[in-house]
Symmetry: C4
Subunit: 239 residues, 4 copies
């Protein structure tokens, strides 16, 4: 299949996109290494200034490579790279369309997001790792079925609203960030927070962070770069 | 011991069975790698179009190899390969006899199947990973004792009925598939589902998937091939 | 320090004891690899037909080696090998003295034994992995303090009685076997059983195995050799 | 940046401090390997006889190296080494100032410390691994916000008082020791104890160790050297 070209979108192989693609591959490997994804999640990255994005073709994140990236636009039109889009491309396309501030979207089946997606309890922050969340926790997209249509993608984006995270009932989560690094860091911290809240709830009502306390934590620097460096360093080691 | 021959069954070493045997070995390694089996499970694969099957001889799945496969018929008659059948060969022989649609059988002692086998709570699907299960969960084979006789194997097959899974009280589970890949994928997903349901039940009544919601999920493609590719890729890495 | 000799006890370096010593080192490594010990457990093996035994000197099981074995008698007299006995040598000496049927003793701080040691709930078998236990579970040695004296060792042996296992409050467990292999297998299965019972108890009263059901399981072959082969195969791989 | 010199404090590169620095790097790697830190903890070591200390610059403990150590005084003045102090240097500076007996401070976000930091339940010792703790458990520093100011560091030190540990609400813990080895061993054992107490509390009121029983355990030798040897041996192996 030849790459379609689209007005204003650089070609799949444009040299200025090389670093973005490499970071996206690394991001997929990190989610795999950190035990957040199993074989079925995906990450996307917006081509800056456009409605096009890169994601992995029909392959597990742990096996992502430059050769297995695909470029699509927000309506699912093929723009280059590997030829088989992931089944759930509308998660990425429709969220990126609805959220011009988002530069990256992660979708995983994290056990902790899956857990809170089926409970009548909100995933509210009780550790500063959750300071990027609203004090009353992220919303839940309730509909059954994989997000394989534009309609379902738009409904997911509506459930996400202007927030950082939407849980997906019986399924997992979708997380956005202003960079690939932020989307990955949020995805990992959401899982860590979900585990901690699960543990705490077993012992009664825990002390959640108040909106004012979240503000205090948010006044500090966000997600220092040593987190990404650490994740990258772990890719060569199994665990 | 010389291989017996049986009318209509190819020889143990027939070249057309080589790929099936290699896939069976890989399947055993996957269950070991994914932490589903300890040293004691086994997987079988039907010789297509016959009542004969391959399984591992008296060896742990993680140590399966072509040299340690055995061919048996559904009554336990030796048809070739390694000479010591697994103690519980009737799990495979009698289920494959009772279920002509099944091409592969997995038996493991998964902690999650073991758990639900001793609880008064059914392992009902609350994540789409469980969409291959009935909405009210799999049955439980209640009898004590290892399945080392034809009688017990027949009783297990009766408990399984026409479904994909039977839990085995104080023991583990038996799972069937229309291919080795499907049996393995179901076994892994059953364990993931069991863990998730366990976690969810600690917080009250979770939202299960309704029969209609299961239908919605089942309308999507089943078990895409990237899962198997991913499992295979992990065999070279320890974790 | 020169090896003392003792009537009827072969020398530390006697060739006929070489295999026993190698198996003991392997056993220590297995407990480490399987996540049962942290840095502080130990395993011993009786010199056949005597009241002497080998154990590891003051070293973690994961670092056991032929050079770091020590030979002691049941009163703690030094008979050869590395010179620093483990702090808690009386666990081994006094249990082996009290239990002529025991050929090996394992002491670990397994999280699951530690857990049931401080609960008012007995670790009763609800999976066939616990078929070596009494139906009402093992006793608990209640006294505080490490077992560093003959008196405490004798009290521990009294609490063990004629059974396979004694839990040690706020500490861990001591397990005996008629071979090193059996003691290791029992130690691993005790931990697996403890985890399973812990999980099951969170959901109400589980179905325990009755004495009659335990008999049915015990009529089957005990601990087939493929378990030991599997444990050994895992020593070269980290996880 | 040139190293400042300070009366009575050896230079960053003084040969007599080489071993201390190497031990500090090893300590950071141990916390990473044992799964206690994620990318964000830090360890410090006092320059003996002074109010100066070494810690890691703005880097994850798993990536600590001699080149990424920094020397600071208790007020945060730069004394040598890598140039970017960790955001939360006041944890180390102000605790070392307030506690002349402390030679090392560890700060981690251990899931178990984080858990008990948000519960209305004290982390009381119920296993001898917690014998270094008071019988009624460590205090909790309640304030929100990272410890990035001298004022917050002083408040943390006040909450710690003369004890070995202070939990930090929605954050983690700070642990002191009379050596790097003791601080690390305490940090690891605090996490193991927290996990065990969490498990035990799920089954009702566990049997805690009484002050008298803690005395009995404390009469035994503390933290034998084989623990540190074991931790070091694991650094070369992933798990």
């Amino acid at each position: 299949m030849a790459s379609s070209s689209k007005a204003g979108v650089p070609a799949f192989d444009a040299p200025e996109l090389e670093e973005l693609k490499r970071t996206l591959v690394t991001a997929c490997h990190i989610l795999d290494r950190e035990g957040i994804t199993d074989g079925y999640g995906h990450v996307s990255a917006r081509v800056p200034g456009t409605a096009a994005f890169f994601t992995i073709a029909n392959v597990s994140p742990g096996l992502a490579s430059l050769e297995r990236l695909i470029m699509l636009d927000c309506d699912g039109a093929y723009l280059g790279g590997a030829e088989t889009p992931p089944n759930e491309w509308p998660i990425h396309g429709r969220v990126l369309r609805a959220r011009p501030d988002a530069m990256s979207v992660c979708h995983t089946h994290s056990v902790w997001s899956s857990l809170f997606s089926v409970l009548p309890i909100k995933l509210r922050p009780l550790h500063h790792y959750g300071k990027f969340l609203p004090a009353d926790g992220p919303p839940v997209y309730e509909a059954a079925g994989l997000v394989r249509t534009v309609e379902r993608g738009d409904a997911l984006a509506a459930a996400l609203g202007s927030g950082p995270v939407v849980l997906m009932r019986a399924h997992g989560d979708t997380v956005v960030g202003d960079s690939i690094q932020q989307a990955i860091q949020r995805t990992v911290r959401l899982a860590r927070l979900g585990e901690l809240l699960h543990l705490a709830l077993l012992h009664g009502e825990p002390r959640y962070l108040t909106p004012k306390e979240l503000e205090t934590f948010n006044a500090d620097e966000q997600f220092p770069a040593r987190g990404w460096e650490y994740f990258v360093s772990r890719l060569g080691k199994q665990g």
